[in-house]
């Protein structure tokens, strides 16, 4: 079987620099999940329709399934696990849980990443801006209501702590 030439890839994931070899057609999603063990990044469609695989690439939310791994060369990737942990939860994670914004949880990683990108840019978003920021993230369980409320709550909390 003909295999494509591989290239070295260096990228920072959640603050840790990693090195691996990738072929040019490999997606960032594939590298994160299959080579770097970042299973918190989900594959829902592989075509950029659902947003389950959203990660921050140099601070901007992107669909990892539409990003070639080599596009992330020498850049910083942040996944859900880089936003907060059990020991040090991010207000978004806390508000998603406390507000009931998580049901099956498969969209959660992408939702929180998109919300994080929004709050980094606009600490005081309107409800409409929140809705727009997650419009590329599909959720089949919640009807979005509690997700939107959770993002509003996290924004308030972050504002108070500043």
């Amino acid at each position: 079987m003909k295999t494509l030439k591989t290239y070295p890839l260096e990228l920072s994931v959640n603050g840790e620099w990693k090195k691996t070899e990738v072929s040019p057609e490999e997606t960032l999603l594939h590298v994160l999940r299959e080579k770097l063990g970042h299973n918190e990044v989900k594959e829902g469609c592989g075509k950029g329709d659902c947003g389950a695989c959203a990660v921050l690439l140099d601070g901007k939310a992107v669909n990892a399934c539409l990003t070639l791994a080599l596009q992330a060369h020498r850049q910083k990737v942040v996944t859900l696990k880089g936003i907060g942990t059990q020991e040090k939860p991010h207000p978004l994670q806390e508000s998603f849980v406390r507000r009931g914004a998580i049901q099956c949880g498969f969209c959660t990683a992408g939702m929180i990443v998109s919300a994080k990108a929004l709050l980094d840019e606009k600490p005081d978003p309107t409800r409409d801006e929140i809705r727009r920021s997650i419009s590329g993230n599909l959720c089949r369980c919640t009807g979005y209501k509690k997700i939107i409320e959770a993002i509003e709550e996290a924004a308030r909390k972050l504002k108070r702590s500043r």
Partner: protein, 764 residues
């Protein structure tokens, strides 16, 4: 236990924390050393004879470890009763065929399996399998498929799977007494479940030679069916259910399990199989499309006199749960109304299309769209307010459905209707071509399985030496909080904080079997089983404590990790002291309980009568919509849901079900439709199959009525499926209110709205 400490509290779920931190290991997140990757070759044609399959090239490809076709499957065909524990007759059985053999019946039918070292190699191998097809005529419309000369989907078998009827009184007499009659035909489409997590699993052979399948499923008890496929004893296949990334009925039937078991058995190595989104949409079941002709009559004062309905559902190419779904529709067809004369005829029919099976609501939302559209038409014709005409006719507790089943528990429809309609508030104003409409629809949906299925659930509760608690229950958690609700019940009964309770779920080898996470049955069935098990442990603890405290056990309660004497001094004893004393006496600090639903056997197979379900959940949706008369675009401005949930064990989870159900139903009403051309699906992605996004959802209000009169634990009713039922008709009725014209086919696309507006303008 009059005042609850844990029940009824909006407590965050344990699984939500894990999900928020990315710690939950979904089916596709799990891998094993030496694991192979599976792929499925599927038919691209809907009806053809398989003349030959040549797998030699694929087998020769480096890295390919197995290529399997029907001849390699020990038992490729079985007559399945789809999980029945009690045989009820041929009409509820269907053919389960693992791989197509000799012919294909729908586009997407599995033909061959591959396992290879990488996913890419497996995919390449699929392309090297040569299947020679001879096209055969197909039938793609259920009404055409009913004709005697229609091509047979399964050769030698009639396309009509089932015919049922519901008969009450004499409809002809009923119509002769009617002052007005409305008659219409309604159509609803194929709908996809569109869970965010595509089907996935990993299988391996453990050190005891048992085939283990770790899979995203609503039914771990398919281990029996998989064992039959391999011709193995049932105890040689173990299914471990993962936290499921959404189910909605689509993971109720077997998905990847048999394929995985066959591949791992053939290769002796672990195998992972995950569907792409496209494959998922092309190959898993859909909600049944229905053609429904309704004739409803009423007196001038609004009292219903007669209802006649003819239902035809499209079963697709395999039976699966179609007879059951139709049976639900039959029971629901007349709605929650008092009607003296009713006749319903229902057929479910095979066609050469994707098979249809369970989808949230299970046959109830289809007929709700029809009977609630009819109620609105009657209201208009009689110039009676839509709320009033319903109130005149709503069934009350103690009255019977058309099937004769007496409603023995609360029917809160008057209240849900008033509250939902009232919550809409001030009517918005339209402008120019934007017309505003508002309206309601009510619905009913059963919870718990049909009583003739003899449903049971088991649960195990034990207390550890430090007073912490373990639950083992074979439930599948599909995101509705199924696991955490059981934890809340146990924490309440045993007087411990929620964080002291740990639950193990969904393992056919290690957890007592709790049945399927379907039919809105888990809280009802496993909630009751867990309540019984917890009470078993409680009884042991209190008996021992009463000895130690020298007081009557009836005076004692468990709370805050203590035994409390509720009378007299209010003396307490620490829970751990009682546990130690029990252990020292050799008393069982565990209890396994089995909850058995009420059962009744079906007397006559075709005629649906008598008790069919344990209970029903009732409620109402109210909607404000804005309709653009120029473009036909419908925007839902506000959507109010008011359903009687009996008791909200966890209001956060219950609201989540109601809100999620509202948007699920909104998609059904406005955008969702799996389109097919000659049996081939043309919408295999989320850019073609349109789910509601965060930009589409309206202002939503959730009102929970808590009658406390359900058959679940603490008086809970089921809400997972009922929450969807009346959304689409509420929106459709509101559109009709806005523009004065009705769309009879879901979804209400702009094209359809414009079409009915043009027709209205032509006729003036």
């Amino acid at each position: 236990m009059t005042e609850f400490k844990v029940i009824g509290k909006p407590i965050p779920r344990h699984d939500a924390w894990e999900k928020a931190f990315g710690l939950t290991s979904y089916a596709a997140d799990f891998s094993l050393p030496g694991m192979l990757y599976g792929k499925v070759l599927r038919s691209k044609v809907p009806s053809a004879r398989i003349l030959s399959i040549d797998t030699s090239k694929a087998e020769r490809l480096a890295g390919v470890k197995a290529v399997l076709t029907a001849k390699d499957v020990p038992q490729n065909e079985s007559v399945t009763r789809f999980g029945q524990t009690h045989a009820i007759g041929g009409g509820f059985e269907g053919l389960y065929r693992v791989l197509a053999d000799k012919r294909v019946h729908y586009a997407g039918e599995p033909v061959a399996l591959v396992a290879a070292e990488t996913e890419k190699i497996a995919e390449k191998a699929l392309g090297l399998i040569r299947v020679e097809y001879q096209p055969l005529p197909g039938v793609f419309d259920p009404l055409e498929a009913m004709r005697p000369d229609a091509p047979q989907v399964e050769e030698g078998k009639a396309n009509i799977i089932t015919h049922y009827e519901v008969v009450k009184g004499d409809v002809e007499e009923g119509f002769s007494q009617s002052d007005v009659i409305v008659e219409n035909t309604y159509r609803v489409p194929f709908v996809d479940h569109a869970y965010m997590e595509p089907e996935s699993g990993v299988a391996w052979i453990d050190e005891n030679g048992v085939i283990v399948i770790r899979v995203s499923t609503q039914v771990i008890e398919h281990f029996r069916g998989v064992a039959d496929v391999l011709r193995l004893p049932h105890n040689r296949v173990r299914v471990i259910g993962t936290y499921v990334g959404g189910g909605f009925g689509g993971k109720e039937d077997i998905t990847v399990e048999s394929f995985l078991a066959l591949l791992t058995r053939k290769t002796g190595r672990p195998v992972k199989l995950t569907y792409t989104r496209e494959e998922s949409i092309l190959c898993h079941s859909k909600r049944h499309p229905y053609v429904m002709t309704y004739k409803t009559g009423a007196k001038k004062d609004g009292r219903l006199t007669a209802l006649q309905a003819r239902l035809v559902s499209d079963a697709g190419a395999y039976v699966y749960l179609s007879p059951w779904v139709l049976l639900y529709s039959m029971v629901n067809a007349a709605g929650p109304y008092r009607i003296p004369h009713v006749r319903v005829d229902g057929h479910t029919v095979l066609t050469n299309t994707i098979f249809t099976s369970a989808n949230r609501g299970f046959g109830a939302p289809q007929v709700c769209f029809a009977y609630e559209s009819q109620m609105d038409e009657l209201a208009k014709k009689l110039r009676i307010d839509p709320v009033e005409i319903r109130k005149i006719n709503y069934l009350k507790k103690g009255e019977a459905l058309a099937t004769g089943q007496v409603l023995e528990h609360h029917v809160g429809l008057e209240e849900t209707t008033d509250r939902a309609a009232c919550a809409l508030g001030e009517r918005p104003r339209g402008k120019g071509p934007i017309k505003i409409g508002r309206n309601i629809a009510s619905g009913m949906t059963s919870y718990g399985k049909m009583v003739f299925l003899h449903d049971t659930s088991r649960s195990y509760v034990s207390m550890e030496m430090d007073g912490s608690v373990t639950i083992r229950a074979g439930i599948q958690d599909i995101g509705g909080g199924q696991a955490s609700s059981l934890c809340q019940i146990v924490a309440e009964v045993l007087g411990v904080p929620l964080e002291d309770v740990k639950i193990y779920i969904a393992d056919t080898a290690l957890t007592p079997l709790s049945g399927t996470t379907t039919a809105t049955r888990q809280l009802y069935m496993s909630g009751n089983a867990t309540l019984m098990a917890a009470h078993g442990v409680r009884k042991t603890l209190l008996r021992k404590a009463s000895e130690m405290m020298k007081v009557d056990p009836d005076r004692l309660d468990l709370a805050d990790r203590e035994v409390i004497d509720q009378e007299g001094t209010g003396k307490t004893l620490s829970l751990t002291d009682v546990v130690k004393a029990c252990a020292s006496d050799g008393l069982p600090l565990y209890h396994v309980a089995l909850f058995k639903a009420p059962t009744r056997n079906l007397t006559k197979y075709e005629r649906i009568e008598g008790d069919v379900f344990p209970d029903f959940t009732f409620g109402t949706h109210a909607a404000d919509v804005a309709v653009d008369e120029e473009t036909g675009k419908v925007e839902v401005l506000k959507l109010v849901s008011c359903y009687d949930v009996g008791t909200a064990i966890n209001p956060l989870s219950v609201e989540g079900q109601v809100e999620g159900g509202a948007v699920y139903g909104m998609g059904y009403g406005l955008t969702e439709e799996v389109l097919l051309e000659q049996g081939v699906i043309k919408t295999p992605s989320f850019s073609e199959y349109l789910l509601p996004t965060s930009m589409d959802v309206p202002e939503m209000e959730t009102l929970l009525l808590e009658s406390g009169d359900g058959v679940g634990p603490f008086g809970a009713k089921g809400i997972g499926e009922p929450s969807v039922c009346s959304v689409a008709p509420a929106i459709c009725n509101a559109v009709c209110d806005a523009v004065g014209a009705r769309v009879f086919d879901l979804p209400l696309t702009p094209e359809k709205v414009v079409k009915v507006l043009r027709a209205k303008n032509r006729t003036g």
